[in-house]
């Protein structure tokens, strides 16, 4: 980061390549699977780094800080979209969740059902789920990123898994919660 502050182009390029796919995935899954929004948010995130690199606190791990900024951007987007939603019919926006899969499905279908369930649970469960299982952060790190107590993170993860097991019947026999 110090190299970026001093204007090292190669350092910025390396940082971008190291995190672009992870951050893009996070935005994509957090923002209703929209590649357009994910691209916009990815650009905005790195623009923040360019314009205010001094906002990074070196006492924290860089990736923890970066995901924390990304998560706050998503929260702001949810707030904005909540305002917009008032003008639309709420039924049209609700995810359809009338399935209960009793037989094994393909990984792609399973993922689709997982994210439909997580959408129903809300962004706070989805963010904890993604950070823990996709990014591999520890409970402590997830708590730090989401600015929550560790107990809350554990409870959100447990609740999300429980809900997924309920919706995907066949998983009940295959996994331990």
């Amino acid at each position: 980061m110090q190299q970026i502050v001093s204007g090292d182009h190669a350092a910025f390029s390396e940082l971008y390549y190291r995190y672009k796919d992870r951050m893009y995935y996070y935005f994509y899954r957090m923002l209703r699977n929209s590649s357009e929004l994910a691209n916009d948010f990815l650009q905005e995130l790195f623009m923040k780094l360019i314009e205010k690199p001094e906002s990074y606190n070196p006492n924290y791990s860089f990736q923890t800080w970066l995901f924390s900024v990304a998560n706050n951007m998503c929260k702001n987007e949810y707030r904005r979209s909540e305002v917009r939603k008032e003008y639309l019919t709420s039924e049209a926006l609700k995810p359809k969740l009338d399935y209960i899969s009793e037989t094994p499905v393909e990984p792609e279908q399973l993922l689709e059902k997982v994210f439909q369930t997580l959408t129903l649970l809300g962004e706070e469960h989805r963010s904890a789920f993604l950070l823990r299982y996709r990014e591999g952060f520890s409970i402590k790190e997830v708590a730090e990123i989401l600015e929550l107590p560790e107990g809350t993170v554990k409870s959100r993860l447990y609740y999300a898994k429980k809900m997924l097991a309920e919706k995907l019947e066949y998983l009940k026999d295959q996994i331990e919660l």
């Binding site: 204007g7 993604l130 898994k161």
Partner: protein, 120 residues
């Protein structure tokens, strides 16, 4: 059937999720913005505009007054020392008066008068 750990199942599931890559245009825009920002920073570094702006503003008046006082004090003291160092104050007489000349703290040379006709 042995049960699989749910953490492992979801980790495997999500890590194998492929959604594509971000647009290349974003990378180009970001690299351009980074270069642009740093080039403008370098221009700023070579400019005196911010210094003059500070100098003629009301900011840091105490500091500026102090600096001016120090500069005045040094220049006044410097002039006084030059006068006392025995320069010829009057050339239309055959005598020039000199005051005590202090070369150092331990050496004080007293010259009451000096005949200038010896110069001729």
């Amino acid at each position: 059937m042995t049960k699989k750990n749910s953490d492992q199942l979801f980790t495997d599931l999500l890590r194998n999720d492929r959604i594509g890559e971000p647009s290349k245009a974003i990378e180009d825009r970001l690299m351009y913005s980074f270069l642009l920002k740093n080039s403008s920073q370098k221009l700023k570094q070579n400019s005196f505009a911010s210094f003059f702006g500070w100098l003629f503003s009301v900011q840091g008046l105490g500091l500026k007054t102090g600096l001016v006082s120090v500069i005045l004090f040094v220049s006044v003291m410097n002039n006084q020392i030059n006068i006392e160092s025995g320069s010829i104050s009057c050339t239309d007489t055959i005598f020039t008066k000199r005051v005590l000349l202090a070369d150092s703290t331990s050496f004080v040379q007293s010259i009451d008068s000096l005949r200038t006709d010896s110069l001729n």
